[in-house]
Amino acid sequence: MTDQTAFHAGLLNPSTPVPEGLTDAQARPAGRRYGIYRNNVTVSLREALAEGFPSLVGLIGRENFDHVARAYLRQSPPTSPLMMHYGAELPEFVAALEQLKHLPYLADVARIDVAMRQSYHAADSISIDPTALQAMDEDTLLATRFSFAPSMIMIRSRWPIGAVWHYTLRGGDKPKGQAEDVLILRAEFDPEPIVLGPGAGDVVLALQTGTPFGRAIEQGGDAFDLAALLNILLPHNAITGLKS
């Protein structure tokens, strides 16, 4: 008998022998016929990862990516049929790889890839009317708490990850070695990673965690540009609620 435990055991481990009880039409051992399934599993998972991590593929090249993906998928096969979520832990896996230690920013750039996919599939939401903010008197505004679209995701890094992402996939300016906070926003259906100015990441984090507007903007420090942040959030339909 060939139970699924035996069939499964060899799929992700090429050194495992072909299970007993599998044959061709002449009752000879299945041999490489079993290898078709083994190959299908590996290739389909690898392709799903490559599709989900375009910037990582661009940064290390497809051949290197395939090596990383193969090691990852053998260690961490999907645990759900929703392939849209597969690979969420690949950034941590990459961060721990000795061979990639010379590229310390890789994992955080890969986190943008993960967040872009999460944002793409996140729930739809309705943004506030921007004039609602202008209509508030100052005291009310300072006491207001914001809520944000489920598709808004912030990735904070010690590295210029937004610049690296743009440079890799869209050919932007050569990245400079400074820390960056990247805010992924989805105005309608297409997520966009936007590099935040100085202090803005701290302000967004404070707002996300329910801090009233007045206290949140104090987190930004001297170089924080409030108008610039609002000019990112409002056109991208990021603010979905105001609560005083």
Binding site: M1, T2, D3, Q4, T5, F7, H8, L11, L12, G21, L22, T23, D24, A25, Q26, A27, R28, A30, G31, R32, R33, Y34, I36, Y37, N40, V41, S44, L45, A48, P77, P78, T79, S80, P81, L82, M83, M84, Y120, H121, A122, A123, D124, P150, S151, R186, F189, D190
Partner: protein, 285 residues
């Protein structure tokens, strides 16, 4: 998410295609698009965004077939209740013209393997598959179609032919069948039996939909042909001939062209659908 409940209760006996997001605009602009569309259920299980928005628009114009690829109906373990609930949510929201899944397994020990894996055909596996189909039909509150697999090997322990196995599943559960004629051709070549003989033995009365797709060619350890179900190219002539052979016995059925890898531009896929349309015309004349 507004309700997308479709007004199409059945798949028409016309050609359809497996829907790919990159064809959205082309399909809506095509003055003579296909008769219906099939979507992979798992691609529409996100919370929102473009996939669901597109599906809502398409469901207003086309009958939609929801085709699951991740339920693992042939699995030894119990069906994943979370996944079944997601399928129910999608079907309740969309009210598709058809729901289908595979005679295969893909989940084991909580690992999802993203492939349609084979099972032996025995009285034990028959009971298990029938129980799983009963559960699916009860939870979804609708009849499902079960698709025959592409096989690359045989199980020494099997005691049923695939056609007898499927016929008995239909008898026990009342489910319908999705007949993939490319899978029949692939399995018949790989396991050295007659594809026409398979069709002759197959319970055609239960067929609610027919699939067509492309396959690749390889060889086994002994140099025998080994066909791989790849859905990455045109349907080959012998499969079109097998479709004609099938339709001559079954009468017109909803036909679906699947193309899932190296997906071509819309006109190429539309040409394949037109070829399917001419097969339907032939059976009516």
């Amino acid at each position: 998410m507004p309700d997308a409940t479709s007004a199409f209760p059945h798949l028409p006996a016309l050609p359809g295609v497996g829907y790919k997001a990159q064809h959205f605009t082309d399909i809506l602009k095509d003055p003579n698009p296909v008769g219906w569309l099939e979507v992979h259920a798992e691609n529409y299980m996100g919370e929102g965004g473009r996939p669901l928005a597109q599906l809502r628009v398409l469901s207003e114009r086309f009958p939609i077939s929801v085709h699951g690829v991740g339920l693992s109906i042939g699995g030894e373990g119990r069906l994943d209740p979370d996944h079944l609930a997601r399928l129910k949510h999608l079907c309740d929201w969309l009210n598709p013209a058809s729901f289908s899944e595979h005679l295969a397994w893909s989940t084991h020990d909580s690992h999802f393997l993203n492939d349609l894996l084979p099972l032996p055909y025995t009285s034990d596996t028959l009971t298990r598959v029938a129980d799983h189909i009963d559960e699916v039909q009860t939870v979804l509150g609708r009849r499902m179609l079960l698709e025959n697999p592409s096989s690359y090997l045989a199980f020494a322990e099997s005691t049923y032919s695939e056609t007898d196995f499927l016929a008995e599943i239909v008898r026990r559960t009342g489910c319908g069948l999705l007949l993939d004629v490319n899978n029949v051709f692939v399995s018949a070549t790989n396991l050295d039996y007659s594809p026409q003989g398979y069709i002759d033995a197959y319970p055609l009365d239960a067929v609610g939909e027919i699939h067509l797709g492309g396959h690749d060619e390889d060889e086994d350890d002994h140099g025998a042909p080994l066909l791989i179900d790849s859905h990455g190219r045109e349907v080959v002539d012998p499969v079109w001939a097998l479709l004609d052979y099938t339709l001559a016995q079954s009468g017109p059925k909803p036909l679906l062209v699947e193309w899932d890898t190296d997906v071509p531009d819309w006109p190429v896929l539309a040409d394949e659908a037109r070829r399917a349309a001419s097969a339907l015309t032939r059976v009516l004349t």
